[in-house]
Subunit: 183 residues, 2 copies
Amino acid sequence: MRPSRPAVHPVEAPPPQTQGENADAAPVGVRMKDTQGGPGTPGGLGLRLVQVFFAAASLAAMASTNDFPSVTAFCYLVAAVILQCLWSLSLAIVDIYALLVKCSLRNLRAACIFSIGDLITGTLTLGAACASAGITVLIGNDLEMCAHNHCASFMTATAMAFISWFALAPSFVLNFWSVASRL
Amino acid sequence: MRPSRPAVHPVEAPPPQTQGENADAAPVGVRMKDTQGGPGTPGGLGLRLVQVFFAAASLAAMASTNDFPSVTAFCYLVAAVILQCLWSLSLAIVDIYALLVKCSLRNLRAACIFSIGDLITGTLTLGAACASAGITVLIGNDLEMCAHNHCASFMTATAMAFISWFALAPSFVLNFWSVASRL
Protein backbone atom coordinates (compact mmCIF):
# COMPACT_ATOMS: atom_id res chain seq x y z
CA MET A 1 0.00 0.00 0.00
CA ARG A 2 1.43 3.25 -1.06
CA PRO A 3 1.01 5.94 1.52
CA SER A 4 -0.79 8.82 0.11
CA ARG A 5 1.35 11.92 -0.13
CA PRO A 6 0.32 14.84 1.87
CA ALA A 7 -1.60 16.90 -0.55
CA VAL A 8 0.20 20.02 -1.58
CA HIS A 9 -2.14 22.76 -2.45
CA PRO A 10 -0.18 25.44 -4.20
CA VAL A 11 -1.88 28.33 -2.52
CA GLU A 12 -1.29 31.41 -4.54
CA ALA A 13 0.26 34.09 -2.46
CA PRO A 14 -2.50 36.58 -1.95
CA PRO A 15 -1.56 39.86 -3.52
CA PRO A 16 -0.06 41.92 -0.73
CA GLN A 17 -2.66 43.79 1.19
CA THR A 18 -0.74 47.03 0.78
CA GLN A 19 -1.20 46.96 -2.96
CA GLY A 20 -4.82 47.83 -2.67
CA GLU A 21 -3.95 50.60 -0.25
CA ASN A 22 -1.26 51.97 -2.52
CA ALA A 23 -3.59 51.93 -5.44
CA ASP A 24 -5.90 54.11 -3.42
CA ALA A 25 -3.15 56.13 -1.79
CA ALA A 26 -1.68 57.14 -5.13
CA PRO A 27 -4.69 59.16 -6.24
CA VAL A 28 -4.41 61.29 -3.09
CA GLY A 29 -1.35 62.90 -4.62
CA VAL A 30 -2.59 62.77 -8.19
CA ARG A 31 -6.17 63.58 -7.43
CA MET A 32 -5.99 67.23 -8.40
CA LYS A 33 -6.20 66.65 -12.08
CA ASP A 34 -4.78 69.21 -14.44
CA THR A 35 -8.23 70.63 -15.05
CA GLN A 36 -8.35 73.27 -17.77
CA GLY A 37 -9.43 76.45 -16.04
CA GLY A 38 -7.68 75.65 -12.78
CA PRO A 39 -4.74 77.73 -11.55
CA GLY A 40 -1.54 77.38 -13.54
CA THR A 41 -3.25 76.27 -16.77
CA PRO A 42 -3.75 78.25 -20.00
CA GLY A 43 -7.53 78.00 -19.44
CA GLY A 44 -7.16 79.44 -15.95
CA LEU A 45 -4.99 82.26 -17.25
CA GLY A 46 -7.58 83.00 -19.92
CA LEU A 47 -10.36 83.20 -17.31
CA ARG A 48 -8.26 85.57 -15.18
CA LEU A 49 -7.54 87.83 -18.16
CA VAL A 50 -11.26 87.94 -19.03
CA GLN A 51 -12.00 88.94 -15.42
CA VAL A 52 -9.36 91.68 -15.49
CA PHE A 53 -10.56 93.00 -18.84
CA PHE A 54 -14.24 93.24 -17.91
CA ALA A 55 -13.55 94.62 -14.42
CA ALA A 56 -11.35 97.30 -16.00
CA ALA A 57 -14.02 98.01 -18.63
CA SER A 58 -16.63 98.38 -15.89
CA LEU A 59 -14.35 100.77 -14.01
CA ALA A 60 -13.69 102.81 -17.15
CA ALA A 61 -17.40 103.02 -18.02
CA MET A 62 -18.30 104.17 -14.51
CA ALA A 63 -15.39 106.61 -14.25
CA SER A 64 -16.38 108.21 -17.58
CA THR A 65 -19.46 109.69 -15.87
CA ASN A 66 -18.91 112.69 -13.62
CA ASP A 67 -21.85 112.10 -11.27
CA PHE A 68 -21.22 108.55 -10.05
CA PRO A 69 -19.89 109.70 -6.60
CA SER A 70 -23.34 111.07 -5.74
CA VAL A 71 -24.73 107.50 -5.59
CA THR A 72 -23.31 105.23 -2.88
CA ALA A 73 -23.94 102.03 -4.84
CA PHE A 74 -21.92 103.30 -7.81
CA CYS A 75 -18.99 104.18 -5.51
CA TYR A 76 -19.25 100.66 -4.09
CA LEU A 77 -19.22 99.24 -7.62
CA VAL A 78 -16.06 101.21 -8.41
CA ALA A 79 -14.38 99.91 -5.23
CA ALA A 80 -15.47 96.32 -5.91
CA VAL A 81 -14.28 96.25 -9.53
CA ILE A 82 -10.93 97.82 -8.53
CA LEU A 83 -10.50 95.03 -5.96
CA GLN A 84 -11.60 92.44 -8.54
CA CYS A 85 -9.17 93.86 -11.08
CA LEU A 86 -6.22 93.78 -8.66
CA TRP A 87 -7.01 90.26 -7.43
CA SER A 88 -7.48 88.80 -10.92
CA LEU A 89 -4.42 90.62 -12.22
CA SER A 90 -2.19 89.25 -9.47
CA LEU A 91 -3.48 85.72 -10.06
CA ALA A 92 -2.97 86.16 -13.81
CA ILE A 93 0.67 87.12 -13.11
CA VAL A 94 1.04 84.05 -10.85
CA ASP A 95 -0.46 81.91 -13.64
CA ILE A 96 1.92 83.37 -16.24
CA TYR A 97 4.87 82.70 -13.94
CA ALA A 98 3.69 79.12 -13.27
CA LEU A 99 3.25 78.50 -17.01
CA LEU A 100 6.69 79.94 -17.85
CA VAL A 101 8.65 77.98 -15.25
CA LYS A 102 6.29 74.97 -15.63
CA CYS A 103 5.66 74.92 -11.90
CA SER A 104 2.47 73.32 -10.59
CA LEU A 105 0.00 75.38 -8.59
CA ARG A 106 -2.13 72.38 -7.71
CA ASN A 107 -1.26 72.22 -4.04
CA LEU A 108 -3.78 72.41 -1.26
CA ARG A 109 -2.69 75.68 0.35
CA ALA A 110 -2.65 77.59 -2.95
CA ALA A 111 -6.08 76.23 -3.92
CA CYS A 112 -7.40 77.18 -0.47
CA ILE A 113 -6.14 80.78 -0.70
CA PHE A 114 -7.35 81.14 -4.30
CA SER A 115 -10.84 79.83 -3.51
CA ILE A 116 -11.27 82.06 -0.43
CA GLY A 117 -10.08 85.11 -2.38
CA ASP A 118 -12.36 84.24 -5.30
CA LEU A 119 -15.29 83.81 -2.92
CA ILE A 120 -14.75 87.23 -1.30
CA THR A 121 -14.11 89.20 -4.49
CA GLY A 122 -16.90 87.32 -6.27
CA THR A 123 -19.46 88.08 -3.57
CA LEU A 124 -18.42 91.77 -3.49
CA THR A 125 -18.55 92.09 -7.28
CA LEU A 126 -21.93 90.36 -7.52
CA GLY A 127 -23.32 92.52 -4.73
CA ALA A 128 -22.03 95.72 -6.31
CA ALA A 129 -23.30 94.71 -9.76
CA CYS A 130 -26.74 93.90 -8.37
CA ALA A 131 -26.93 97.17 -6.42
CA SER A 132 -25.94 99.14 -9.53
CA ALA A 133 -28.41 97.19 -11.63
CA GLY A 134 -31.18 97.98 -9.16
CA ILE A 135 -30.41 101.70 -9.29
CA THR A 136 -29.95 101.76 -13.06
CA VAL A 137 -33.36 100.11 -13.51
CA LEU A 138 -34.85 102.52 -10.96
CA ILE A 139 -33.48 105.54 -12.84
CA GLY A 140 -34.23 104.20 -16.32
CA ASN A 141 -37.54 102.33 -16.02
CA ASP A 142 -39.21 103.37 -12.78
CA LEU A 143 -38.41 107.09 -12.65
CA GLU A 144 -37.66 107.55 -16.38
CA MET A 145 -34.91 110.06 -15.63
CA CYS A 146 -32.43 108.86 -18.25
CA ALA A 147 -32.49 112.25 -19.95
CA HIS A 148 -30.63 113.80 -16.99
CA ASN A 149 -28.39 110.81 -16.24
CA HIS A 150 -25.70 108.75 -17.90
CA CYS A 151 -27.90 105.66 -18.09
CA ALA A 152 -25.90 104.08 -20.93
CA SER A 153 -22.63 104.33 -18.97
CA PHE A 154 -24.25 102.99 -15.79
CA MET A 155 -25.73 100.07 -17.72
CA THR A 156 -22.43 99.32 -19.45
CA ALA A 157 -20.54 99.39 -16.14
CA THR A 158 -23.12 97.08 -14.53
CA ALA A 159 -23.10 94.65 -17.44
CA MET A 160 -19.28 94.50 -17.48
CA ALA A 161 -19.22 93.83 -13.72
CA PHE A 162 -21.71 90.97 -14.22
CA ILE A 163 -19.60 89.48 -17.04
CA SER A 164 -16.52 89.73 -14.83
CA TRP A 165 -18.41 87.86 -12.09
CA PHE A 166 -19.54 85.19 -14.58
CA ALA A 167 -15.88 84.67 -15.56
CA LEU A 168 -14.91 84.45 -11.89
CA ALA A 169 -17.48 81.78 -11.02
CA PRO A 170 -15.74 78.88 -12.87
CA SER A 171 -12.40 79.80 -11.27
CA PHE A 172 -13.97 79.69 -7.82
CA VAL A 173 -15.85 76.44 -8.46
CA LEU A 174 -12.72 74.70 -9.80
CA ASN A 175 -10.58 75.88 -6.87
CA PHE A 176 -13.18 75.00 -4.27
CA TRP A 177 -13.76 71.65 -5.95
CA SER A 178 -10.06 70.78 -5.81
CA VAL A 179 -9.87 71.79 -2.12
CA ALA A 180 -12.97 69.75 -1.25
CA SER A 181 -11.90 66.66 -3.20
CA ARG A 182 -8.48 66.85 -1.55
CA LEU A 183 -9.61 66.95 2.08
CA MET B 1 1.78 0.02 8.43
CA ARG B 2 -0.68 2.63 9.06
CA PRO B 3 -1.26 4.75 6.07
CA SER B 4 -0.50 8.31 6.82
CA ARG B 5 -3.50 10.40 6.55
CA PRO B 6 -3.43 13.08 4.00
CA ALA B 7 -2.20 15.97 6.00
CA VAL B 8 -4.80 18.55 6.50
CA HIS B 9 -3.24 21.92 6.63
CA PRO B 10 -5.82 24.22 7.91
CA VAL B 11 -4.93 26.93 5.47
CA GLU B 12 -6.42 30.11 6.71
CA ALA B 13 -8.59 31.46 4.07
CA PRO B 14 -6.67 34.39 2.69
CA PRO B 15 -8.56 37.52 3.43
CA PRO B 16 -10.81 37.73 0.45
CA GLN B 17 -9.45 40.04 -2.17
CA THR B 18 -12.63 41.91 -2.11
CA GLN B 19 -12.06 42.83 1.51
CA GLY B 20 -9.37 45.29 0.54
CA GLU B 21 -11.66 46.68 -2.05
CA ASN B 22 -14.53 46.77 0.38
CA ALA B 23 -12.41 48.49 2.98
CA ASP B 24 -11.76 51.14 0.39
CA ALA B 25 -15.20 50.94 -1.12
CA ALA B 26 -16.86 51.30 2.26
CA PRO B 27 -15.75 54.90 2.70
CA VAL B 28 -17.47 55.72 -0.58
CA GLY B 29 -20.71 55.06 1.21
CA VAL B 30 -19.59 56.37 4.59
CA ARG B 31 -17.45 59.18 3.27
CA MET B 32 -20.15 61.75 3.64
CA LYS B 33 -19.79 62.17 7.35
CA ASP B 34 -22.83 63.02 9.36
CA THR B 35 -21.83 66.68 9.39
CA GLN B 36 -24.05 68.80 11.57
CA GLY B 37 -25.75 71.23 9.23
CA GLY B 38 -25.89 68.82 6.31
CA PRO B 39 -29.23 67.53 5.00
CA GLY B 40 -31.09 65.16 7.29
CA THR B 41 -29.46 66.40 10.51
CA PRO B 42 -30.98 68.55 13.28
CA GLY B 43 -28.42 71.28 12.45
CA GLY B 44 -29.46 71.23 8.80
CA LEU B 45 -33.11 71.42 9.77
CA GLY B 46 -32.32 74.39 12.04
CA LEU B 47 -30.55 76.22 9.20
CA ARG B 48 -33.51 75.60 6.87
CA LEU B 49 -35.98 76.90 9.46
CA VAL B 50 -33.84 80.04 9.97
CA GLN B 51 -33.87 80.58 6.20
CA VAL B 52 -37.64 80.15 6.01
CA PHE B 53 -38.22 82.47 8.98
CA PHE B 54 -36.07 85.33 7.71
CA ALA B 55 -37.26 85.00 4.10
CA ALA B 56 -40.86 85.16 5.37
CA ALA B 57 -39.99 88.13 7.61
CA SER B 58 -38.44 89.93 4.63
CA LEU B 59 -41.56 89.23 2.56
CA ALA B 60 -43.82 90.48 5.35
CA ALA B 61 -41.79 93.67 5.86
CA MET B 62 -41.83 94.45 2.15
CA ALA B 63 -45.51 93.57 1.71
CA SER B 64 -46.43 95.87 4.61
CA THR B 65 -45.55 98.88 2.44
CA ASN B 66 -48.03 99.83 -0.25
CA ASP B 67 -45.56 101.39 -2.69
CA PHE B 68 -43.07 98.59 -3.24
CA PRO B 69 -44.50 97.61 -6.68
CA SER B 70 -43.35 100.98 -8.06
CA VAL B 71 -39.70 99.93 -7.73
CA THR B 72 -38.57 96.99 -9.88
CA ALA B 73 -35.85 95.90 -7.45
CA PHE B 74 -38.33 95.60 -4.58
CA CYS B 75 -40.62 93.43 -6.74
CA TYR B 76 -37.60 91.29 -7.57
CA LEU B 77 -36.81 91.01 -3.84
CA VAL B 78 -40.36 89.84 -3.14
CA ALA B 79 -40.11 87.23 -5.89
CA ALA B 80 -36.68 86.06 -4.69
CA VAL B 81 -37.68 85.68 -1.03
CA ILE B 82 -40.88 83.85 -2.01
CA LEU B 83 -38.74 81.39 -4.00
CA GLN B 84 -36.25 81.15 -1.12
CA CYS B 85 -39.08 80.53 1.35
CA LEU B 86 -40.62 77.76 -0.77
CA TRP B 87 -37.27 76.06 -1.43
CA SER B 88 -36.15 76.16 2.21
CA LEU B 89 -39.58 75.08 3.42
CA SER B 90 -39.63 72.04 1.15
CA LEU B 91 -36.12 71.04 2.24
CA ALA B 92 -37.12 71.55 5.89
CA ILE B 93 -40.04 69.16 5.34
CA VAL B 94 -37.68 66.65 3.70
CA ASP B 95 -35.32 67.02 6.69
CA ILE B 96 -38.14 66.48 9.19
CA TYR B 97 -39.25 63.38 7.29
CA ALA B 98 -35.66 62.06 7.17
CA LEU B 99 -35.23 62.67 10.91
CA LEU B 100 -38.55 60.99 11.75
CA VAL B 101 -37.99 57.83 9.72
CA LYS B 102 -34.21 57.95 10.41
CA CYS B 103 -33.47 57.78 6.69
CA SER B 104 -30.16 59.08 5.42
CA LEU B 105 -30.10 61.91 2.90
CA ARG B 106 -26.36 61.62 2.37
CA ASN B 107 -26.43 60.20 -1.13
CA LEU B 108 -24.80 61.81 -4.10
CA ARG B 109 -27.87 62.63 -6.15
CA ALA B 110 -29.66 64.32 -3.25
CA ALA B 111 -26.56 66.37 -2.35
CA CYS B 112 -26.19 67.38 -6.01
CA ILE B 113 -29.82 68.54 -6.30
CA PHE B 114 -29.64 70.35 -2.94
CA SER B 115 -26.42 72.17 -3.79
CA ILE B 116 -27.62 73.29 -7.24
CA GLY B 117 -30.91 74.51 -5.75
CA ASP B 118 -29.08 76.29 -2.94
CA LEU B 119 -26.74 77.93 -5.45
CA ILE B 120 -29.60 79.24 -7.59
CA THR B 121 -31.82 80.47 -4.75
CA GLY B 122 -28.79 81.87 -2.90
CA THR B 123 -27.58 83.86 -5.92
CA LEU B 124 -31.08 85.21 -6.55
CA THR B 125 -31.59 86.17 -2.88
CA LEU B 126 -28.17 87.83 -2.64
CA GLY B 127 -28.76 89.74 -5.87
CA ALA B 128 -32.20 90.90 -4.76
CA ALA B 129 -30.94 91.88 -1.31
CA CYS B 130 -28.05 93.87 -2.83
CA ALA B 131 -30.33 95.63 -5.31
CA SER B 132 -32.74 96.56 -2.53
CA ALA B 133 -29.88 97.71 -0.33
CA GLY B 134 -28.58 99.92 -3.14
CA ILE B 135 -31.97 101.54 -3.58
CA THR B 136 -32.62 101.88 0.15
CA VAL B 137 -29.27 103.64 0.59
CA LEU B 138 -30.04 105.82 -2.46
CA ILE B 139 -33.40 106.88 -1.02
CA GLY B 140 -32.18 107.26 2.56
CA ASN B 141 -28.65 108.67 2.32
CA ASP B 142 -28.16 110.05 -1.19
CA LEU B 143 -31.56 111.62 -1.89
CA GLU B 144 -32.71 111.94 1.76
CA MET B 145 -36.29 111.17 0.82
CA CYS B 146 -37.10 108.97 3.81
CA ALA B 147 -39.86 111.33 4.89
CA HIS B 148 -41.96 110.29 1.88
CA ASN B 149 -40.96 106.63 1.85
CA HIS B 150 -41.13 103.57 4.08
CA CYS B 151 -37.37 103.48 4.62
CA ALA B 152 -37.63 101.45 7.83
CA SER B 153 -39.66 98.72 6.15
CA PHE B 154 -37.35 98.65 3.11
CA MET B 155 -34.30 98.38 5.38
CA THR B 156 -35.90 95.63 7.48
CA ALA B 157 -36.84 93.63 4.38
CA THR B 158 -33.31 94.01 2.98
CA ALA B 159 -31.66 93.03 6.25
CA MET B 160 -33.90 89.96 6.64
CA ALA B 161 -33.09 88.87 3.08
CA PHE B 162 -29.37 89.20 3.84
CA ILE B 163 -29.74 87.14 7.04
CA SER B 164 -31.65 84.49 5.09
CA TRP B 165 -28.79 84.39 2.59
CA PHE B 166 -26.22 84.10 5.40
CA ALA B 167 -28.14 81.11 6.75
CA LEU B 168 -28.25 79.58 3.27
CA ALA B 169 -24.49 79.84 2.67
CA PRO B 170 -23.46 77.07 5.15
CA SER B 171 -26.09 74.72 3.70
CA PHE B 172 -24.74 75.29 0.20
CA VAL B 173 -21.09 74.93 1.23
CA LEU B 174 -21.77 71.67 3.13
CA ASN B 175 -23.75 70.19 0.23
CA PHE B 176 -21.23 71.26 -2.39
CA TRP B 177 -18.40 69.99 -0.21
CA SER B 178 -20.00 66.57 0.12
CA VAL B 179 -20.59 66.38 -3.65
CA ALA B 180 -17.00 67.42 -4.42
CA SER B 181 -15.44 65.06 -1.86
CA ARG B 182 -17.57 62.24 -3.25
CA LEU B 183 -16.63 62.55 -6.94
